[in-house]
Every structure is written in C-alpha cells, then in structure tokens.
Amino acid sequence: MARKAITGNGAVALALKQVEPDVMAAYPITPATEIAQNYAQYVANGDVVTEYIAVESEHSAMSAAIGSASAGARTITATSSQGFALMWEMLFIASSLRLPITMPVVTRALSGPINIHCDHSDSMGGRDCGWIQLYGEDAQEGYDNVIQAFRIGEHMDVRMPVMTMIDGFIISGAIGPLDALEDDEVKKFVGDYKAVNPLLDVDNPVTIGAFDSLGGWYFEHKISQNRAMENAMKVIEDVGREYGELTGREYAHFKTHEIEDADIVLVAIGSAAGNVKTVVKKLRAEGRKVGVLKVRTFRPFPTEQIREALSGAKVIGVMDRSDSFGAQGGQLFTEISAAMYGGESHPQIYNFIYGLGGRDIFPDDIEGAVEMLEKAAAGEKLEQKRHYLNVREG
C-alpha cells in the first residue's frame, strides 16, 4: 500500500483502472472530465484490457453502458451535473434492468443559470432512479467507495447499479492524500464478474427490455427493485467490513463523531462533513455538546440506524447542499425528518441549505448554525425551519 498525493478525480480513475472493467462509455463534462480522460489514457497506454467508447453524449454514454452491461460486460461510466441530467431517462432503465453498472458522479450544480461548481442538485435529483448512492467526503473515500461499489452492485442479492459521489472541484480537483491498494489486492477484493442472462450467450438468447404494460408485471418488477435495495442495506455493511479488514478503513452507512452525549447533532453529506467535524472539535473544546453524523449511504436510506443514532439529540441541524423548491426542505432534511418521525424521541429538526453553485461555507457559518440550534435547544422557538448559510440576502 502506497500513500500518494492525488486529485479526487485521479483517485477515482485509479480505482477504476485497478478494477479494470471490460467496457467504459463516457463523455467529458466539467468537473468529471479528468476521470474519462485519465481512463482513455490508460487504454491508450495499454495498461488495461478495457474497451473505451467515446460516445457523443451522456444519454448515449448510459445507453451504451446499458447495452454493454446487458451483453455481459463489467461496465463503467462517469459524469456530473448536466450530463447526469441528460442520462436521467436511462438511469431508471439501467436500474430496472438490474444492471450493476458503476458510475462515479462528481457533484455539480444544475443549470440554470449555468454554473460549474459544486452542489448536490444533480445526484440528489437522481435519488429516486433506483441506483445505490454512496457519498464520499474526500479523495480517499471516493476511491474506497468505487472499489466497494462493484462488490455491492454485483452481489447476487442486489444486482443494482451504484453511483459514488465526490464533490465537484472541492474534492475532484483538489490534491489530497490517498492510501491506494495494490492492483492485485483490488482485483482479488472485487473478484471476477458474473454476468446474468447476457445477450452474448448464443446458446441461450434473451430478450431484454420487453414491453410490460397493462396486464403485465410492471408493478411486481418495481417491487423487486425495492427488495434489492433492502438487500443492499446488509451487503453494503458486509462489504464495508470486509474492506476494513483489508485496508483498516471500515465503512458503514454513516459515521458519527461526538454524538453520544450531544444535545445538538449536525447531519452532513459530502465534503462539508469534514468542515463540520473541524468546527465540532473546536466547540467541544469549549465544552459545547455538539456532534456530527456524516451520511454515506443515501440510497438505500439507513432509516432505522440513523433514527437510533440521533435518538439522544435535542436538536438536529440537517445540512443540505441542494434545495427542493416548494418542498419542506432539502432532500437530506426531509429524509431525516421522516426517519425521526417514526421514532420515540422527537427532536427539533432544522434545515441549513448551503453551498449552492459552489458558494463557500466557512467555519463561522457552521458556528452560526450551531448557535441557532443552541437557542432552540434552550427553548427558544426558531421562526423558520429552513435557513440559508452565507447568502447575500436574508
């Protein structure tokens, strides 16, 4: 195992290279381009057996990935923002065909206005498309999640596509430390790919993507997808544990820091979880009872475990890097609220929307949020449920 300095995109591309899938179909898009171009270079250098399809759009990237995975090949792509949005139609088809495609997503704001910087409106917008979603905080987690994604998606109890997120520019473009595995360790961990009912089995031809309308089995097929998601809950944990045995970095659905006796818990996802942790450390040193819960698995959502973990909190602050217009709050907020509603304890829950279009979030912003939550914990009722951090108007 070697420690190296690498960009988030570089770490993700390296993980993909070490897995060495059969086919990659990709289209460039800022800030994910580096993943595609690094991989194209690996192919050009003859470092991998992978065949690379330089498609003419992300819609075709996902369509070609669907063709390739249906044919029986281990298949990857990567995208961001508008590319993710252009794939939208095909994301649902990939999951309904139960194709374990792995797709790193470098999160970026959706137009308009056009903006190339980080927020989660792309991946959060895709939360209902039937893909497993794993969010990473930094390059290391981005790398680790990609390797685990193959094991999770290809597990026979799951057979679902997996997307792994890293934050655009903040992680994708920044150079950070990475403890990389050796190629053979990755290959051994991931194992050989087992195709199910592939198109290329000439002795057993199959029809994939049949018309399943009124009088058919559409409803039951949808239920089977949900069952696969339920199965994925355990598989994600098992794979995370096994990965921990190999690397010393164990993964679960989420990670907590200082929440055992915390009155106030901030829930965050993606790179900002690291910023929140830094602030929490400072506040703890001041004797303030604050903790943080970092979400890794957003789909399937680990409802019961998160409810249990947050059951001791008086006030919860949920930090969303994407908004949902006209809804009660961001996607993480509504998810956490719904989880807590089903529990015995009923903490107050507030939503902090931050970082849209790459807007910076400073330690002071996070401290400000905690101060608000402390007032709420002391019995003061906050006027609004939803707050925006570091915006120019009130």
Partner: protein, 311 residues
C-alpha cells in the same frame, strides 16, 4: 443470395404470433433482413411498433438476443453491445462470431434517434442499422416525422382550412448517412426481396457500420388496405418516390431505373392512400400535385447525376 426456396426453409428468426397489424411492412422487412444474417445476432430495437408488438412480456418473437431500452438510442445501445463483444472476445471469454443489428422506425432514426445513430456510425462500430420507414410516428397514432412526405395528413400535420397536410418535404436521411462516409448505405423495398436481401447480405459482410433504409407501408397510417402493402411499396419505387440505390465506399449505384412510361406519376401512388385524399379535393390541387412531382423529379435527377459522377 441463396435461393428463395432455401431461405424459406430456414427457421424464422422473428416468429409468428407477434402483434403487428395485418399488412404491416415492418415484420416483412425484418424477416427478409434477418434471413440472410450469417450467424447469431444481437438485435437492438428502438421504442416503436416493432418493439412493443414483438416483446409483450413474458413473450418474445425474437429467436436471437434482443435488447430494447428507449426510443432515441438504438445506435448507442448496439454500440455498447458490440464493444462488450469486442472486449470479451479479445479476452478470450467469447468464442462465437456474432452480428449486431439495430432496427428503428423513421422516428427512432430520422428524428429522435439521429444523434445516437450518427455517433455510432462515426465511431465505426461493426453493426447494421435498418430503418423501417413508414413515414410517420405510427405507434403513437400517426404524427408527422422528418420522414413524412409533403402533403400527407397526420394528426400533427392535419388537414384544415389553413393546411393541406404536411407542408415540408422529407429529410433525405440516406444522404445524411452517406455524408458520414459510411462504408455501405442502401435503400430497399420489401417488394423486391432479392434486392433487399442482397443488400442486407452486403451490409452484414461490411466491416464497420452499414445502413439500410427500407420503405415500410403502414396500412393504418397510410389509410390503405392491408393487402396492398407490397403493391404500394412497388409503386413507390416505380414512381421514384423511393428510388432503389446503394452507396458502397462513396460509389453510387441505382439498382432500378424505370424507363419512359415505367416511371409512373406520383399522383397515381398518392391517390391510392387515404392520407393524401384531401390533396385531390383542393382548389389548387393540380398545382400542389405538380410541386410534389417536381420535387421527386429533382431528387431523381440528382441521384442520376450522383451515380454518374461518384463512381
């Protein structure tokens, strides 16, 4: 080409029992093309009549592996399948030789599927794309497409006080495919099965992409009797509405040239189809029909010149 009798004795690769309409041109074209496919194939079909009628879950009419995922992406989908095949074959995980075919209607080829087809052809995947051109979005109930001929009634080029059907001429898709420097492109018609199957054989033998544009009469959308499908396809060719030609590595060859009286007036062909009935009741009927004829004649002359120059 093998003898028709031999071909007729080969097992069907698109079986009976599918739900396409009586007289539909699509399955006739598919069966003719597939009958000369030299080995096992994977077929990619865009959303449309052919797809919904041949794969009603849990049944399938396809004897080869078949994939449908969406409307606009038959080209991209088959390029993924073909690339997977190349990867697995190179790695020694697959032994058999296989063929890759995509079928799209004119909507899934001329319009919504054009980008995906263009990309797949430009990248040079080894596949055959077959467009069954029935001249409108028939699956959704007869809406105009880029392939709908001028004057045709459809539900989105309706006939009314202000409109006499579609205002525009068709898109020349075969020319667009030729502009990709595709190794092989051809038009064909089901009435001339020898020509169609010879072209399909050539398409399968072509390394890299090949494109076949096959006219496919639609009794429902054309407002014609189901037993007239083949006759209508034949007359489309005789009138030069649908010339039969092929372009091999940039060289044009017209496969059928009606001489003198054999080139029939397009109005005779239009008259037989309900979708053009209104044209014959217009005050300026003669003028409109003359314009339609002029366009067909101009395209035909153009084609003759291309054949003369691009040899």
């Amino acid at each position: 080409m093998a003898k028709p009798k031999e071909l007729a004795n080969k097992p069907e690769r698109l079986t009976g029992g599918h739900r396409l309409c009586a007289g539909c041109g699509a399955p006739i074209n598919v069966r003719q093309v597939m009958s000369v496919c030299p080995g096992p194939a994977v077929v990619s079909v865009s959303t449309g009549c052919l797809e919904v009628s041949t794969t009603i879950y849990p049944y399938t009419a396809w004897k080869d592996s078949m994939i449908h995922s969406a409307f606009e992406n038959a080209g991209a989908t088959i390029s993924g399948v073909e690339t997977a095949y190349n990867s697995l074959k190179k790695q020694g995980k697959i032994k058999d030789d296989m063929y890759f075919v995509a079928f799209g209607g004119d909507g899934g080829t001329y319009d919504i599927g054009l980008q995906s087809l263009s990309g797949a052809v430009e990248r040079g995947h080894n596949f055959v794309f077959v467009c069954y051109d029935n001249g409108a979005y028939m699956n959704t109930g007869f809406q105009r497409s880029g392939a709908t001929p001028r004057g045709a009634w459809t539900t989105t080029s309706p006939v009314g006080k202000e409109s006499a059907g579609k205002q525009q001429n068709r898109k020349d898709l075969t020319a667009i495919m030729v502009a990709h420097d595709i190794p092989y492109a051809a038009t064909a018609s089901p009435h001339n099965f020898k020509d169609l199957m010879t072209k399909a054989e050539k398409a399968f033998a072509t390394p890299g992409p090949a494109f076949l544009n096959v006219i496919s009469p639609c009794p429902r959308g054309w407002r014609t009797p189901g037993d007239q499908t083949i006759a209508l396809a034949k007359e489309a060719v005789q009138s030069c509405y649908w010339p039969l030609y092929e372009v091999e590595n940039g060289k044009y060859k017209i496969n059928y040239k009606p001489k003198g009286d054999k080139k029939t007036p397009v109005a005779d062909w239009l008259k037989k189809q309900g979708r053009f009935a209104h044209l014959f009741k217009l005050e300026n009927s003669e003028e409109v029909l003359a314009e339609i004829q002029d366009y067909i004649d101009r395209k035909w002359e153009e084609l003759l010149k291309k054949e003369e120059c691009l040899v």
